[in-house]
């Protein structure tokens, strides 16, 4: 039993950040070379059948990027502009020349996101979100940062009741809780997890001092409780 606890705890330690042996400077050298100060968050590219995911997921990007020390253009004003200019479909810009965003907005970089899963399983009690994040320079067109995350939020409930009735109660409680939990929770956690190893921007407390901090794997998977 003691061994089992030790193994679980060790696994937790190892999985807690899924850090690779690379430093941020080694993994994201172009971030340190170009030093983007301002980021425009592009409307997400939605590759799921959940039409709402695009607008909803968009709201998860702003706060974490600001907290990383970047100037992030107001999401509401940017979204209004994109809709007015018929530039709402970011797929068209993913590999295009981004100079217009530099000329019109003054943005140093554009953050693209591709939503690959946006699911809820009431029976299993999980919300699953899978997103790829790509930051491209508006100056050189280069990809400065790229990472993908798959985050499952565990919403299962254990009522503590025993026997068949207890099991049924658990299933019902899990289904109710999962149905009531907003999928945005998984979206927020995914963004927070993935962007945690992004080098800090000019307003960050460790700007140009985090080169030796560990960078995470290019793709991370995590299960977190609500």
């Amino acid at each position: 039993m003691k061994n089992y606890i030790a193994i679980v705890l060790m696994a937790l330690v190892l999985a807690s950040c899924a850090t690779s042996s690379l430093t941020r400077e080694a993994r994201y050298p172009k971030m340190y070379a170009e030093k983007p100060a301002s980021i425009v968050v592009m409307p997400p590219i939605n590759r799921t059948t959940h039409v709402d995911a695009k607008d909803f997921f968009y709201t998860t990007m702003y706060t974490p990027l600001c907290e990383k020390g970047y100037y992030v253009f107001s999401p509401m004003l940017i979204m209004e502009m994109f809709q007015a200019e018929s530039a709402y479909d970011a797929e068209n810009f993913l590999e295009a020349n981004l100079t217009p965003f530099r000329n019109v907005l003054g943005a140093d970089a554009a953050m693209f996101t591709i939503i690959k899963s946006w699911n809820r399983s009431n029976i299993g009690g999980t919300l699953t979100v899978e997103v790829e994040y790509i930051l491209r320079s508006t100056v050189t067109g280069e990809t400065l940062y790229q990472r993908e995350g798959k985050v499952k939020v565990d919403t299962s409930v254990n009522t503590g009741s025993k026997g068949l009735l207890g099991a049924l109660l658990d299933v019902a409680a899990t289904a109710a809780k999962t149905a009531a939990t907003d999928k945005i929770e998984a979206g927020r956690k995914c963004t927070a997890f993935v962007l945690s190893d992004m080098p800090e921007g000019k307003y960050g407390l460790n700007y140009m001092q985090d080169q030796q901090s560990p960078a995470g794997e290019a793709r991370i998977t995590a299960t977190v409780s609500e």
Partner: protein
């Protein structure tokens, strides 16, 4: 002994993620309020989002002690739309003063609102 082991593992877990940093800004419930407004736009949800923005602007306790990027602009824009043009324009200009990176974009918005 057992306690020491758990504490050690907890410290390891925390340190493996790097140090925990203080937030640069205080956001209050603004993230959720704007999400709720995006989800179902209504006068009531808009009023709640604006109330949260006002808190973010006037009660800033984050490490930088300044209003976060975009908030003065967004709140100012909403005030202009609600008829409080002078106050709104002042905040839009405040965004540029605080964040010179925003000048191109916000000047464009100001021009549009002045038409």
């Amino acid at each position: 002994m057992k306690k020491l082991f758990i504490v050690t593992v907890a410290v390891l877990t925390l340190s493996s993620c790097g140090t925990v940093q203080p937030n640069l800004y205080s956001w209050y419930d603004s993230e959720d309020a704007t999400y709720q407004y995006t989800k179902r736009a209504s006068e009531e949800k808009l009023a709640e989002a604006m109330a949260q923005y006002k808190k973010v602007i006037t009660m800033q306790k984050g490490a930088r002690k300044v209003v976060p990027p975009g908030v003065n602009a967004e709140y100012g824009y909403l005030l202009v739309k609600a008829g409080q043009k002078e106050e709104g324009m002042t905040l839009l200009k405040e965004e540029i003063a605080l964040y010179p990176e925003s000048e191109k974009f916000i000047s464009r918005i100001i021009k549009q609102l002045e038409k």
